[in-house]
Symmetry: C2
Subunit: 121 residues, 2 copies
């Protein structure tokens, strides 16, 4: 049972980094909304339900900085800006499928666990 392996089993840092990457309340929602193709600022504001203008800007900048999306400005009047996912972001989205499956399969159980736990308090 208690092996002398005190070290962590997998790659702790990598996972920490990816979670750092997708952390934040809105990151995933934005990536999801941008999956079908280039999307404008206002469209994102509409599609990512509940996001504030401020957080949309901040999250977009972070994603752009990390190279997960590119920002294209069309110098028209009024201005038009499109955000497009990079391949890296698309791969990230693919990697999420396993998590989505997990969430779908266990969301009911988890909810039930919580209710039971809270009642047992």
């Amino acid at each position: 049972m208690s092996q002398s392996h005190t070290d962590v089993p997998d790659e702790p840092c990598s996972l920490g980094e990816v979670l750092e990457q997708v952390s934040g309340k809105w990151t995933i929602g934005i990536i999801m909304a941008a999956i079908p193709g280039p999307i404008r600022f206002t469209e994102l504001e509409r599609e990512v339900e509940g996001i504030s203008r401020r957080m949309l800007t901040l999250t977009l900048r972070k994603l752009e900085r990390d190279g997960l999306l590119v920002r294209t400005v069309y110098p028209t009047v009024p201005p038009k800006v499109e955000y497009t996912l990079t391949d890296i972001a698309k791969e990230l989205h693919d990697s999420f499928q396993g998590l989505i499956t997990w969430a779908d399969r266990h969301k009911g159980t988890i909810q039930a666990n919580r209710t039971a736990y809270d009642r047992a308090e």
Copy 2:
């Protein structure tokens, strides 16, 4: 491939929930440390580098509430408490593998992107 529907492509809520689930600075670290088998409070405190006693307790309670681990108390003196992952948590860990791969493959690129972006400021 996803259709060109303008609505959200996949299951936005499920993914939001799973991220809610694993959110928190220490959640993943604890799951990782518990993968090899039952683990005690103090062992976790040592293995999850940098965690405070308070956050360890809080995160363990949350995980227990969600049914991701079970808490077993041995009424000995001094007390002994073991935390064991449930199958749900192990499945979650499996689902992370894709993310880990993603992180490993792109961490260098992302770092480079950040440096470039910051210099372009």
